[in-house]
């Protein structure tokens, strides 16, 4: 029998019981839609992270102590940097425009009766320029502040709201880890990062104040650098690397005991992380596709039993075993393919809605769509074969006599 005839037969058989066909394929519809939505949201999140990281300043570099380790940052245990290192970079690396300290710890901040935990950053005056971050009230940190170890700070939007509410914070005094500081500026709000971290929940103070008055240790954990231009990032990186090897006395042939990363690497790392998350979620969604397939198998088995007489009649008038096999197999495939198409549609609409609600960029990866529909065909074949074989191997007289 020809495939076209078989397909026509399958479609008309399925249309004869529309509601049941729809319910049968619902599992596949949901499975495919779930896979599509997960993939689409994953792609959206990746695009967002990438955008966010590029927004941080695309010619930014990060210098961390410790050897480079896989995906994460750097290993612990290597010596921190010193102020001399910072000065040396400024002096000896022409491709580096600016270099800033970035020491971070968690502290309690107190004003009057408000009291909360936040992140305290000890940074150089150039930090905001490197991060391409502006103040919306007051001013940033100055060379003057840095030189004097001034008791001043710039606060993020979250701290402004939590500590001051509608009161003007400029000139007010807050206690940061028992150090009274004057608020001189408020940063432009950045909102939550892709991973849900509130980027505005921070207090910046001069790195000298941080080192001498908060930590009692003036060494530098992390440095943020910017290259003079985007196309000189590699040059800046090489200069910093060679300078640091020399200053930290790394022997010829030994690995660096520090790590320089640029944004492209960070973007790639973030891409890998969101990629893993996306695959994980899509994997969960794929399980529902398998469940959908089992649903099809279940109903196809019922259908074979119900239509035993029909099979008997077909065998009696000359259907071969493979004709019956093809009939039920094609029915299962048509069913799950229809489910795949419907799921694709639902998934596209769903991911568009999700991107709206979650404020993610919308994208529908064509690969995911093709895969979901392809997989739904495979599901149809895989779970259709068993019922179809059962139908094909009925003995004609047994099938005809079946009540």
């Amino acid at each position: 029998m020809r495939l076209a005839t078989t397909t026509g037969l399958a479609v008309s058989a399925l249309l004869r019981s529309k509601l049941r066909s729809l319910l049968t394929t619902l599992g596949v519809v949901i499975g495919v839609a779930a896979v599509i939505i997960m993939q689409s949201m994953g792609a959206g999140a990746t695009a967002m992270v990438t955008g966010e990281l590029s927004g941080m300043g695309s010619n930014m570099l990060m210098l961390m102590p410790g050897a480079t380790q896989g995906m994460g940052g750097a290993s612990l245990g290597a010596p921190l940097f010193t102020r001399d290192d910072l000065a040396a970079i400024g002096r000896e690396c022409p491709a580096v425009r600016a270099a800033s300290v970035m020491n971070v710890r968690s502290v309690r901040v107190v004003t009057g009766d408000e009291n909360r935990s936040t992140n305290l950053y000890g940074v150089s005056p150039s930090y905001l320029e490197i991060r391409q971050w502006l103040t919306v009230m007051g001013r940033g940190l100055t060379e003057e502040d840095e030189r004097q170890g001034a008791k001043v700070c710039v606060i993020g939007e979250t701290n402004r709201i939590e500590l001051f509410g509608s009161v003007d914070p400029i000139g007010a005094e807050i206690r940061v880890h028992d150090l009274a500081c004057t608020v001189v500026g408020v940063l432009e709000p950045k909102g939550a990062s892709t991973f849900g971290q509130d980027q505005d929940d921070l207090v910046l103070m001069p790195s000298t104040t941080y080192g001498r008055r908060i930590m009692g240790d003036d060494r530098i954990g992390v440095m943020m650098l910017s290259a003079v231009a985007e196309d000189r990032i590699d040059e800046a990186k090489a200069q910093v690397q060679s300078l640091m090897r020399q200053r930290r006395r790394v022997l010829e042939g030994e690995d660096d005991d520090f790590t320089v990363r640029d944004m492209r690497e960070l973007i790639a790392i973030m891409g890998t992380i969101t990629g893993v998350l996306t695959s994980l979620l899509a994997g969960v969604a794929a399980i529902s596709l398998v469940v959908g397939g089992i649903g099809i198998m279940n109903i196809m088995l019922v259908s074979v039993t119900e239509r035993t007489r029909e099979i008997g009649i077909r065998l009696a008038v000359g259907a071969r075993a493979r004709d019956i096999l093809a009939q039920f197999l094609v029915e299962a495939v048509v069913l799950s393919l229809a489910g795949g198409m419907l799921g694709l549609l639902l998934g596209a609409v769903g991911s568009y809605a999700a991107s709206r609600v979650l404020d993610l960029p919308f994208s529908l990866p064509p690969m995911a769509a093709a895969l979901a529909v392809g997989v739904s065909v495979v599901v149809g074949v895989l779970f259709g074969v068993f019922p179809a074989r059962k139908a094909a191997h009925l003995r004609p007289i047994v099938a005809l006599r079946f009540e």
């Binding site: 029998m1 004709d323 003995r395 004609p396 005809l400």
Partner: protein, 235 residues
């Protein structure tokens, strides 16, 4: 008697056992039967005499437990499944007591069914199925579904389906069993005409002597054996 001919269908020492262990039933106990081309054979017998079982074996719907079934001298058990399917498709036509039409399927589509499996093109299927329906007196009812047709009309659709592939043998299992006397007579007249005018060999199972009287030869089964086999004068 005409000159000796090769039998079209022959059963040789056929036995058929159903069930297992203590529950076994011996439906056929060694049956020999030759059907020659152009014959109209009626098989009679009480229920449980084995006549329907013999019919199913003749139609390649069931296999004997022991013995040989030959179609034109070829033993059927040696044939692969696809050849058996082809045999059912274009050499044998079936008419059942319960009509066995596909429900929710038009008369035309039902009649086309054997042609679908014979790989006949859609347009030719249509033409031949219409012709077959016209031959059994159902022109104009092509679109009707089985539940919109009377019993007699349904049996005519079934006969059209059996004939559409121009088979040599028509196997009818109680073709009038579900029909009233008048309709039965019409169906029988149709079968007799097919046998007489087109030379189609007919084997028919019935338990009704009036129906059996239409046939040219009467075979009687009892307890899984043939107890009489005699020619009849054509009516």
């Amino acid at each position: 008697m005409q000159a000796p001919r090769e039998p079209l269908l022959s059963l040789r020492r056929i036995t058929k056992v159903f069930g297992e262990g203590d529950a076994t039933v011996q439906a056929l106990r060694g049956v020999d039967l030759d059907v020659y081309p152009g014959e109209f054979v009626a098989i009679m017998g009480a229920s449980g005499s084995g006549k329907s079982t013999a019919m199913n074996i003749l139609g390649c719907l069931d296999a004997p437990t022991e013995g040989q079934y030959l179609v034109e001298g070829i033993p059927v058990e040696s044939l692969p499944g696809d050849v058996l399917a082809a045999l059912r498709n274009d050499r044998l036509g079936f008419v059942f007591q319960g009509f066995n039409l596909l429900p929710r399927t038009s008369a035309l589509d039902n009649v086309e069914l054997p042609l679908v499996y014979a790989d006949v093109s859609a347009s030719e299927r249509r033409v031949r199925a219409r012709r077959a329906l016209a031959e059994v007196g159902l022109a104009g009812r092509e679109r009707a579904h089985p539940n919109q047709l009377s019993g007699g009309q349904q049996q005519r659709v079934a006969i059209a389906r059996a004939l559409v592939n121009a088979p040599e043998v028509l196997l009818a299992d109680e073709p009038t069993g579900n029909l009233d006397t008048r309709t039965s007579a019409e169906i029988m007249a149709l079968l007799v005409a097919l046998n007489r005018d087109r030379g189609i060999t007919i084997v028919m199972v019935t338990h009704d002597t009036d129906i059996a009287a239409y046939a040219g030869r009467l075979v009687t089964f009892r307890d899984g054996l043939i107890v009489s086999d005699q020619p009849r004068a054509a009516p």
